[in-house]
């Protein structure tokens, strides 16, 4: 499972950045623990990195508290990712949009649109000034194409599936140059 197996350094960063989500996470702990009370044991190989983190933060913590903290962090780790993605997308419909070469991203609400063409219009308003000829997304002669990251973390070309399927799976959007897009696929 992707969410339950984060690399050691990434976990630290994610944990630090997502403190605000802890309250949201608490609501997810209960179903997880109820459905899989033995879930802690398969994760035992991760004890050492988590334990190291705990001891680094303060020598005052005794063994009992450390053990408790380890379990919490395991749940927090997977819970954070699950809540972060599902919660926001279901509730708001907003996804991030970035354009290759630009530092600052935007956000669009895919639920506000009923088709690819209205989405293309909004992206034109947001990013069109970055090119002398505009984006002209979904047009044959355009030098740009729109790709999206789906719920499995895969990047796909936007426009291939019906709009209703697209809005169910899109998690992030990216405007890339057409020739660049060929390489990763």
């Amino acid at each position: 499972m992707y969410c339950s197996d984060p690399p050691h350094p990434l976990h630290l960063v994610a944990s630090d950045k997502q403190q605000k989500d802890h309250k949201l996470i608490l609501s997810w702990k209960k179903p997880t623990m109820d459905s899989d009370p033995l879930g802690v044991f398969p994760n035992s190989p991760k004890y050492h990195p988590y334990y190291s983190q705990t001891t680094e933060f303060g020598g005052v913590i005794d063994l009992g508290l450390s053990l408790r903290t380890i379990q919490h962090e395991i749940y927090h780790s997977s819970g954070q990712r699950y809540c972060s993605n599902e919660g926001y997308r279901r509730k708001w419909g907003y996804v991030k949009v970035t354009m290759d070469g630009l530092v600052v991203g935007r956000k669009v609400c895919v639920l506000d649109h009923g088709s690819y063409s209205t989405l293309a219009h909004q992206l034109e308003d947001m990013f069109g000034m970055q090119s002398v000829s505009g984006l002209r997304l979904f047009q044959m002669e355009s030098e740009f194409c729109l790709v999206y990251r789906d719920e499995e973390g895969l990047w796909r070309n936007a426009g291939d599936v019906p709009w209703n399927e697209f809005i169910e799976s899109v998690e992030r959007l990216r405007i890339t140059r057409r020739n660049d897009a060929v390489l990763p696929f």
């Binding site: 309250k23 608490l26 623990m33 600052v104 991203g105 935007r106 308003d125 947001m126």
Partner: protein, 172 residues
């Protein structure tokens, strides 16, 4: 363009507000740690053998929430009712802090920052008007991505923002 001298009274006010929180959260941490230590043994035992014991779980949840709130206070000098984030403007070495919960929304935020930095700042709602403003307001969210301010509802913005930056318009 847009370089401005900050108001000294605002700086003093900001400093005064942050100090008491630091002291307060330091004391709170000790108390919370003791409380949590007491709960942890019982809770661990319960979870191993009872699984879904709601009663004990609720107790743990309460302690966890106290710890989380404490962490928030200690890390960000915020308490219930205030939410300070750092603001930097490109080209200006001195940063500021602003309490987002004291603002009514995006217009209030833009007006306040225009005044703080003596700048003319662009944000998402104005972009379509081909504004001639030279700076754009961006924020770093909890995933570390820099986004333009104003695309999402104010409440959602408050739940994502970690810090603010006033970037030069032609760089973004």
């Amino acid at each position: 363009m847009g370089r401005g001298r900050s108001s000294s009274s605002s700086s003093i006010e900001s400093s005064c507000k942050s100090n008491p929180f630091g002291v307060s959260s330091s004391n709170t941490r000790n108390l919370s740690t003791d409380l949590r230590l007491g709960l942890s043994f019982g809770s661990s035992s319960g979870q191993y053998y009872n699984g879904g014991d709601n009663h004990e779980y609720d107790g743990v949840g309460a302690a966890e929430e106290m710890m989380i709130m404490e962490e928030e206070e200690q890390n960000e000098c915020n308490s219930v009712g205030s939410f300070y984030v750092k603001v930097n403007m490109e080209g200006v070495p001195i940063g500021r802090k602003i309490d987002l919960l004291s603002l009514n929304g995006y217009h209030d935020l833009i007006t306040t920052l225009d005044y703080m930095f003596n700048a003319s700042i662009l944000w998402a709602e104005e972009e379509d008007m081909c504004s001639e403003k030279s700076h754009v307001l961006t924020y770093a969210d909890k995933e570390g991505d820099w986004m333009m301010v104003g695309d999402v509802p104010w409440e959602m913005f408050l739940s994502s923002v970690r810090r603010l930056k006033i970037s030069r318009a032609y760089h973004y």
